[in-house]
């Protein structure tokens, strides 16, 4: 049981990193609380597996510290860190039975036979592996094998955290859901810190209490699934989470007001103030398709857009339209009427996110 702290941690695979682009993990500080269920979410190659391997000790970070409770574990090998890791592809010991597989980590630390029997029975029971205990691990199905890998992490009672590296990749879709439930159950029962790496937002949000979204070696947002959806702290979070992703508009601030590719965008005074104060040329506005309003007639804060197409997704439709040369999307009701090639849409300001230099800025009241 432990709290995992990452202190000014960074990692580069090259011996002499020249700039930030040489870093697989850019400097970050984070605390993973004891007993939490966390997800590390991000696209392939964003550094999430690297971060996981640093925590488990398979990789030495080039800068910063990994701290378990109060102990700096940078120099401790994985076998001394009391963590368990479940890999993308199930790792089982082919020649052993399921029982021997589960007992293996205990035998390696010379646990008494009675204790082994008792622990293995407990874990097998939780993972529904009891009927398979005498079977040879080689002949199991992929999901059973993955459960055996998980079980090896659970049998040791000194485990402080379990790390999952995309553990459901090779599992059939209908079983994924079951295994995710199982994980959740185990988490509630054992009160172990769990860190779950995935590129699937659904997996992340059903498993984790808090999600760290990674992008280009950085954790760009660390929050609950709801926070990630409602207030994305980085345009990438808005784009990556939600389906379809957030609409992003590049803003140019002129004397006459905000413009998108030379097309004026009606914004209130407080947005203009916030953007002027930011004093940057990298300004972006983001709005989720769910919040874009389609109007029946023009109003003073609406924009005229060109309809491209609508896509029927059952209970709702996705309207694709073009505004100032940008392809944007709006989510509309299935019975909403969209007539003509040109319609009026409104971007409600309470749902507009302002990004200065790629990070979200709170827009003040005045």
């Amino acid at each position: 049981m432990a709290q995992i702290t990452l202190k000014t941690l960074a990692h580069s695979y090259s011996p002499n990193p020249a700039g930030p682009e040489d870093y697989a993990i850019r400097e970050m500080s984070h605390v993973w609380h004891q007993g939490g269920a966390y997800a590390l979410l991000g696209p392939s190659g964003c550094g999430k597996s690297t971060l996981l391997n640093i925590i488990s000790g398979l990789l030495q970070p080039s800068d910063g510290e990994v701290i378990f409770d109060d102990l700096i574990v940078n120099d401790l090998p994985p076998e001394e860190r009391n963590i368990a890791q479940v890999f993308q592809f199930p790792v089982i010991y082919d020649t052993m039975t399921v029982f021997d597989n589960l007992a293996f980590p205990l035998r390696n630390i010379r646990t008494p036979v009675d204790k082994i029997k008792q622990r293995v029975a407990e874990v097998a029971d939780i993972l529904d592996l009891t009927p398979l205990l005498k079977r040879k691990a080689k002949n199991l199905t992929a999901d059973e094998k993955q459960k055996v890998s998980m079980g090896r992490g659970l049998v040791r009672d000194d485990v402080s955290a379990i790390l999952f590296d995309e553990p459901l990749t090779v599992i059939d879709p209908q079983l994924k859901w079951k295994l995710r439930r199982k994980l959740k159950e185990i988490h509630e029962k054992f009160n172990i810190t769990m860190i779950y790496v995935t590129h699937d937002q659904l997996e992340a949000s059903t498993f984790a209490d808090k999600i760290a979204v990674m992008y280009e070696g950085q954790v760009v947002q660390f929050g609950t699934p709801r926070e990630l959806f409602e207030v994305p702290a980085h345009p990438f979070v808005g784009y990556f989470i939600g389906s379809p992703g957030m609409n992003i508009l590049d803003i140019e601030l002129t004397q006459a007001g905000a413009r998108v590719n030379d097309v004026p965008l009606p914004l209130s005074h407080r947005f203009h103030t916030a953007m002027r104060r930011a004093d940057s040329r990298n300004l972006k506005l983001g709005i989720r398709p769910e919040f874009v309003e389609v109007l029946s007639k023009a109003s003073d804060d609406s924009c005229m857009v060109e309809v491209k197409n609508t896509q029927d997704l059952g209970t709702y439709r996705i309207l694709s339209f073009q505004f100032a040369g940008l392809n944007l999307k709006a989510r509309i009701d299935e019975d909403a009427i969209v007539s003509g090639d040109r319609i009026h849409v409104r971007f409600p300001e309470e749902h507009l996110n302002l990004y200065v230099d790629e990070f979200r800025v709170e827009v003040g009241d005045e």
Binding site: S56, L58, P77, P78, E79, I83, A84, Q85, F87, Q88, F89, V91, Y93, D94, T95, M96, T97, V98, F99, D100, A103, F104, P105, N108, I109, V113, I116, K117, L133, K134, K136, S149, R152, G153
Partner: protein, 293 residues
């Protein structure tokens, strides 16, 4: 549904049958033909039945050669298999060192059999050979033409030098195919080096080892050119193996009937031992299924 019975597709295996007939069945049948007859000249022959087989099985010279043959094959297997695995485990896994070691290790495999014999013949000579002279300088009276022990030792050393690389190469490729995650998981499970070898590496090597052991057994059981060049079967008949006895009989003495019978026995022994090896290794895997604490 009307099922049409048409077995004409069987004709499609005819080309295959023809090929096998010429490559295996017909040559083998000529041997079978000789083994059951006593041929004097092109017009005179007698059917002998199993007589040649009985004679051969009771021939003390051949029995001794067979025993020597088994002793030789099992000795080199007992040395080459563990040694090959050991070398494969020690070989560097990446970088230019890996390629360099790979090439160095493969070199002996590229040398033709009788050249290997010649190399070792010169190498072990007491007057000019590096090994022969060195051992004599060290005070050991090394002489493969006089001492059967020296001859045996040298032949085994030669075979180990020539063929261990094959086992090492096979095992190396087997080891390379083990995903990194297995080693990582083993570290996290706190497995000892021995446990990693016993439960990860060795099981993954089983398939290549089956191939390696069978190949090495067949090869060594049929060994001919190397000892023939090195010792000529001597001193006495102490290093005369089966193939050499057979050649002497068939070519030297023109005893076609007995040597044909003997060839068939020889072939059946190899077949039998290979089958036993294969079954034994496959069963070993099955036995591991039994669990328990």
């Amino acid at each position: 549904m009307n099922k049409v019975h048409n077995n004409k597709a069987w004709f499609l295996i005819l080309p295959m049958l023809l090929l096998v007939a010429f490559s295996a069945i017909i040559p083998l049948m000529t041997v079978v033909n000789y083994s059951v007859q006593d041929v004097f000249d092109s017009n005179t022959r007698f059917f002998t039945g199993t007589e040649w087989f009985e004679t051969m099985l009771n021939n003390p010279t051949l029995q001794a050669a067979l025993l020597r043959q088994f002793a030789f094959s099992f000795t080199i297997l007992a040395i080459q298999v563990p040694l090959g695995i050991g070398i494969a485990l020690l070989m560097p896994k990446r970088g230019w060192q890996a390629s360099a070691v790979l090439i160095l290790i493969t070199l002996p495999l590229l040398i033709p059999w009788n050249v290997v014999g010649s190399i070792w013949q010169i190498f072990t000579r007491g007057d000019i050979g590096l090994m022969g002279v060195s051992l004599r300088e060290l005070g050991y009276n090394y002489n493969i033409t006089r001492s059967p022990v020296d001859a045996w030792f040298t032949i085994i050393l030669m075979d180990v030098w020539h063929w261990t690389p094959l086992i090492a190469l096979l095992c190396y490729s087997g080891l390379r195919s083990i995903p990194e995650a297995y080693y990582q998981a083993a570290r996290i499970d706190r497995a000892s080096k021995w446990a990693v070898f016993r439960y990860i590496q060795l099981p993954k090597l089983t398939n290549v080892l089956v191939i390696g052991i069978l190949l090495r057994f067949m090869h060594s059981f049929m060994i001919y050119a190397e000892p023939f060049v090195l010792t000529g079967g001597g001193p006495g008949s102490s290093t005369t193996f089966l193939s050499q006895s057979l050649t002497t009989m068939a070519i030297g003495q023109q005893d076609l009937g007995p040597s044909a019978a003997f060839s068939l026995i020889y072939f059946l022994i190899i077949l039998l031992v290979c089958w036993v090896f294969y079954t034994a290794i496959m069963n070993m895997q099955k036995d591991d299924q039994r669990g328990g604490v």
